[in-house]
């Protein structure tokens, strides 16, 4: 894009950058800890140190990585692991729909990278500060001030986890920390009765279908859980409608 007005708006804006770093600071320790857990879980599920390092540096998606690890450990087909990672990442499609209009004028390579490293926290904090998609000076610097420290904290935690994880005895059960971390990611997503029903149904179907070939139980569980949530949602809406 060669619009000079927009280029000026995207110039480095020290004040917006500092503000973003300050806004994201309190979350960095938690991000590093979460990275540490994923780093440990990666080597505990059989990845070599170079593979774990490559995964953390290239994938940068904690919940999708954690979701993939038990599947790698049990030798699930690659197609199933891919689909699982897509499903776990689906929330980012909505985030991207909210965030992308702010930066639609940037070159495509930059948009690709910005989208790739915009985690949950960056999206939430950015939209708090800039609810409106209209161009504004400092926006790009603000986003970068959120995502660069976030990315760095994640990688530092994760890399420490990879090297620490390979020295811890297996009977300590450190892999269980990954399950606990998923619990913490999942709970905030369970807002309301329909989502709770969906989660319970998905968990139960996954247990019932655990023995199915190709880990199909997992994907069936996601679909049945989603449909259960939608069904409960429409029932709740109808009930509300009747009482109004």
């Amino acid at each position: 894009m060669t619009n000079p007005a927009l280029n000026t708006l995207d110039r480095h804006h020290p004040q917006a950058w500092r503000e973003a770093v300050r806004a994201g600071m309190p979350t960095l320790f938690g991000i590093a800890a979460w990275g540490l857990v994923v780093g440990v879980a990666m080597v505990k599920s059989g990845l070599s140190v170079p593979q774990a390092l490559a995964m953390t540096l290239l994938v940068f998606a904690g919940s999708a990585q954690l979701a993939a690890l038990p599947l790698i450990a049990t030798g699930a087909p690659i197609s199933v692991i891919f689909l699982t990672a897509v499903v776990v990442n689906l929330r980012f499609v909505i985030f991207a729909a909210l965030l992308a209009p702010h930066f639609a004028h940037l070159p495509w390579r930059q948009r690709l990278m910005l989208g790739y490293v915009s985690g949950d926290l960056a999206v939430a904090l950015f939209l708090q500060k800039y609810p409106d998609a209209a161009p504004q000076a400092g926006k790009l610097s603000y986003l970068k001030g959120l995502i660069y420290p976030n990315w760095s904290a994640w990688q530092v935690g994760s890399i420490i986890g990879i090297f620490v994880g390979s020295t811890v005895p297996p009977e300590w059960g450190l892999g269980f920390a990954g399950t606990l971390a998923i619990v913490c990611v999942m709970i905030p997503l369970v807002a309301g009765v329909p989502a709770l029903c969906g989660v319970l149904v998905a968990g139960a179907v996954a247990v019932a279908g655990f023995g199915l070939p190709y880990k199909l139980g997992l994907l069936v569980a996601v679909v049945v859980g989603m449909l259960a949530a939608m069904l409960v949602e429409s029932c709740v809406t109808q009930l509300r409608g009747r009482h109004v």
């Binding site: 593979q51 993939a68 897509v86 499903v87 729909a97 913490c184 969906g198 996954a206």
Partner: protein, 109 residues
């Protein structure tokens, strides 16, 4: 899984993440996701995460459903869930859950 397969998986994860995160950044300003689809997408991640941890919490290594007090992962998982609901802090929850798990493991095992 062989070394090569794990490398392919890493590639697949890069692709999955890029598809979910970046595709709308590249083409998104032309697309409006219908409300109904947004609602469905909203439930997908939570359901997927539940489907991943469900078997780990409930099944024994032999694949049997264990819902009694001998299942220390389930007990620690429930304790950690309650802790997170009260405190909303991931780091503390993981430490608390691992402490429960370790205490039960040493005590029972």
């Amino acid at each position: 899984m062989s070394d090569l397969e794990i490398w392919i998986v890493i590639g697949a994860l890069v692709l999955a993440t890029a598809t979910a995160r970046s595709s709308l950044w590249l083409i998104g300003h032309h697309i409006n996701i219908p409300k109904r689809v947004q609602d469905l997408l909203r439930y997908a991640p939570a359901c997927a995460l539940a489907a991943i941890i469900g078997p780990d919490l409930v099944l024994s290594p032999a694949g049997q459903v264990v819902l009694d007090l001998s299942n220390i992962k389930l007990l620690s998982g429930i304790a950690a869930t309650l802790y997170y609901l009260l405190r909303r802090n991931m780091l503390e929850t993981i430490i608390f859950g691992m402490a429960c798990f370790t205490a039960l493991r040493v005590w029972i095992g």
